[in-house]
């Protein structure tokens, strides 16, 4: 597909990297020549120097034949304008980054009247991700498939957990639960495990199943912490605002610490249920005073990565159960894991993932049939949802007779809303949704999962 990306900030770059990997024809438009020359040297994309909100530049980028135009400059207005022009000039689909919550309310207008296909708000996405984690604290990370019927939940095997030394094929019997471990990250090495794989302490496992089943399993294993009731958030930026909004709907008690007085007032006005505190969140006296140690969860959302990491380390030291860190600049990085910071959120990666899955879904309408895609295990593993269409050659053949690609596993089959954890004699039927977990990148079609 031909994709134009306007604006090459953090998010733009992440998107370009992710989409270039998927072998799309990418044209990036940016006003800063230095940024462009770096792009040109490191990625197989075409670069164009110019203002993405001017029709001339977009025409030069070939917008009339573009399948998608993504506007991710720093300005909401420019993004909307760019998408508007691109649509008028003939781009099939447009995506704009819109951060300002005030515009977000008017987006239904843009969608219908201006033909905007999708808008994305990195801060909102990040806040949603954090809120999901807080509601389900035993997970490090989770992803939903099949309209929420199936989830992939990432968890860590604790030192004293009964899981240590347990082979995967015995899990279901031993803990009487219906789940499947679909990927294991052991010190940065990722495995798509077979039945005889034996778990060790500190493995990060990815469990696929119905959320209730997964909860049941974790309960049986006996490492479920009590639900989060008290949350402390340091930093009162946009993510904090969205997160506060989201958490206000739950029974959690939320404290936000923010330095800027004006911002505190804004937040207090917008979030009546949240306790907003004015003060320096990096000051340990203030943290102690506000009951830092009694918190169930701690979220570091300041604008500086280093500060967030130090704050998270402090919280871990104080034995806070769930610590979430926001990082902006640091790329996928195992150093954070070794420090114990296993839950971190990077808004740009969350955004890039969303856009990549949108692009895949778009491709779906012209031939490929990936319904949804998520990257798990720090982007090293892909979980893909396929719909099986009629007349596929593998239909009704027991799985044990099919030859799959290496490092690939069918996580589950969803048939008429029922979840099947596949065994050797199960079969795939027409209209089944199957979820495939693999380290192979760029699968486009359900037939791609078989070895050639």
């Amino acid at each position: 597909m031909k994709i134009i990306i306007v604006g090459q900030g953090k998010v733009g770059r992440s998107i370009a990297i992710a989409l270039a990997k998927e072998k799309h024809d990418i044209i990036v438009v940016e006003q800063n020549a230095k940024v462009l020359s770096k792009m040109r040297d490191t990625l197989d994309v075409m670069t164009l120097l110019g203002n993405g909100t001017s029709a001339d530049t977009l025409i030069e980028a070939g917008v009339e034949s573009a399948d998608l135009c993504i506007a991710v400059t720093s300005s909401d207005e420019a993004n909307l304008l760019c998408c508007l022009i691109a649509k008028k000039l003939g781009a099939t689909n447009t995506i704009a980054r819109v951060r300002n919550p005030q515009y977000a309310k008017d987006l239904y207008l843009y969608r219908n009247e201006l033909g905007l296909s999708m808008h994305i708000n990195p801060e909102l996405e990040a806040a949603r991700e954090i809120s999901k984690i807080l509601r389900f604290p035993s997970a490090i990370h989770m992803e939903s498939f099949c309209a929420g019927k199936v989830d992939i939940v990432e968890g860590k095997v604790e030192e004293r957990s009964p899981l240590v030394g347990c082979a995967l094929k015995d899990l279901r019997k031993r803990f009487r639960s219906n789940i499947l471990v679909c990927a294991v990250d052991r010190n940065g090495e990722v495995a798509i495990p077979a039945g005889d794989f034996v778990l060790q302490a500190n493995d990060r496992i990815h469990i696929i199943g119905k959320l209730a089943d997964v909860e049941h399993f974790i309960e049986n294993v006996g490492t479920l912490p009590r639900p989060v009731q008290k949350v402390m958030i340091v930093g009162g930026g946009k993510i904090s605002y969205y997160l506060g909004m989201d958490l206000s709907k739950t029974r959690m008690q939320v404290k936000i610490i923010e330095m800027n007085e004006e911002r505190c007032k804004e937040l207090a006005l917008a979030l009546p249920k949240v306790m907003v505190l004015e003060g320096d969140g990096t000051d340990s006296d203030i943290l102690d005073e506000e009951g830092f140690k009694e918190m169930d969860a701690f979220v570091a959302l300041t604008g500086i990565d280093e500060e967030n990491i130090i704050l998270a380390l402090n919280a871990l030291q104080a034995n806070v159960k769930k610590v979430i860190t926001k990082v902006n600049h640091i790329r996928e990085n195992s150093t954070l894991y070794t420090l114990g910071i296993d839950t971190y959120i990077s808004p740009k990666d969350v955004t890039a993932n969303k856009i990549v899955s949108y692009v895949r879904a778009m491709q779906n309408s012209f031939g490929s049939n990936v319904e949804a895609m998520s990257k798990i295990v720090s982007g090293k593993v892909e979980a893909l949802e396929f719909v099986v269409k009629r007349n596929m050659p593998f239909i009704n053949i027991p799985l044990m007779h099919l030859k799959f690609k290496n490092n690939l596993l069918i996580g589950c089959i969803v048939r008429n809303g029922e979840i099947i954890y596949p065994k050797g004699n199960d079969v795939i039927l027409t209209d089944d949704h199957i979820i495939v977990v693999t380290t192979q990148e760029g699968l486009q079609d359900v037939t791609d999962i078989f070895a050639k």
């Binding site: 031909k2 270039a20 072998k23 799309h24 024809d25 990418i26 044209i27 020549a33 020359s37 040109r40 040297d41 490191t42 990625l43 197989d44 994309v45 075409m46 670069t47 120097l49």
Partner: protein, 480 residues
Amino acid sequence: MSRNQILKVLSSVLMVTTITLIFPLVVGLLYAEKEAKVFLAIIVSLMIISYIFSLFKDTDAKHSTKSGFLVVGLSWLLITIIGALPFYFSGAIPNFFDCIFESASGFTTTGASILNEIDSLPKSILFWRAETHFIGGLGILVFMVALIPLADQRNIYMLKAEMPGPSVGKLKPKLRDNMKISVITYVVLSITMLICLLCCRLSLFDAITTTMATAGTGGFMIYNESVAYYHSVGVDVVCTIFMILFGVNFNFYFFLYLKQWKQIISEEVRWYFVVIFGAIALIIWNSWHMFNGFWDALHHVSFTVASTISTTGFVITNYELWPAFSRNIILLLMFCGACGGSTGGGIKVSRLILMFKQMTRDISRMLNPRSVHVVTMDGKAVEEDVTRDVYSFMMVYVVLLVVGTLLVSLDGTTFETSLTAVITCINNVGPGFGMVGPICNFSGFSNFAKMVLSLIMLLGRLEIFPMLLLFSPALYKFGK
């Protein structure tokens, strides 16, 4: 950068080059020459070697700028050596240094030869000489990227080093598609030329070898007298036109195909034609008395100008007999060279334009220190980095000329001979002046001078830096 990865690319280069050796093998078989056996033996043994190389495990390491340069430099050294093998083992050229020179001259599309007797060589060897031009014109890695999908998409570094011109622009988002466009343009132009030559009643073998030599802007012919052998105005005209066409930036043809008339006549192409017509007019005016009338003058002068500016090096007339002014213009054309993004050599028209613009800017800055000028090309601002690269290129270029001339003059040749030999080699033209003039060749040099000149040809073809960096200790110091 990992050693295995470099070996992997080199093994692909070896493989592709070996495959190209099949064509002279076929020619040898068709003419029932004993050299066919030599080609067969070389192909089989190289295949085995490249298979062994390909067994190395590929690693995940990515190509960096450094490994890109290294791979290009090493690839060209490798193909030069492979190219020399048929000459040596067939006994066509007994001295191995001569073989290397001939091969380097072929792949770099210089067309300078050490052979005194070309007519008597076997057809398969003549075919191989011409084919080296065809491969070298576009560059071995361009062919490779267009033909074989490489695992790593970050090959831009390698191609940057191989593609001539100050900067590599993209016409399509994907590198591979760009390379395909280049290869298709190249092949279509070549086939057109082949048909034109066949219409001029050349035999198929002659037409193919002449086409390949012109396409790469090389200059190897299969007769001692070069193109003059045919005594055919038709052949001369076809060669003149296609030499000029192969020297045009290939983007020109892409825009022509897309019918984007606005973008076609870029500043570079415009100046390229201005220089050509200007040079023809000046030479005709200056050496009018040498020719019988206007058409004779136009015929000889335009051929020689086209042959020189496109850095082909075909000869139909001995330009050394022309007056000094005309000869100097020819010498200047050697420096000028063709457009960037073509198969021609030399400094490149676009570089000269940029340098000239930068120079006028700097001069006007001295007069008005506060004035701000931006160097533009085709109405777009040129990044400072590019103009700086042009300056450093020119600097190193001059240093190489000086050092090269000094080393070659150890042979005791005249100043004119040693200087123009280096000039003609670094610009990939072919003939120079004096002992290396249009009716002479390079056989008179010592082995040492031949090696120096071979290296200079490679430096010139790869626009100096990829080759020069092979000799830089910093390349080997970190991150082996």
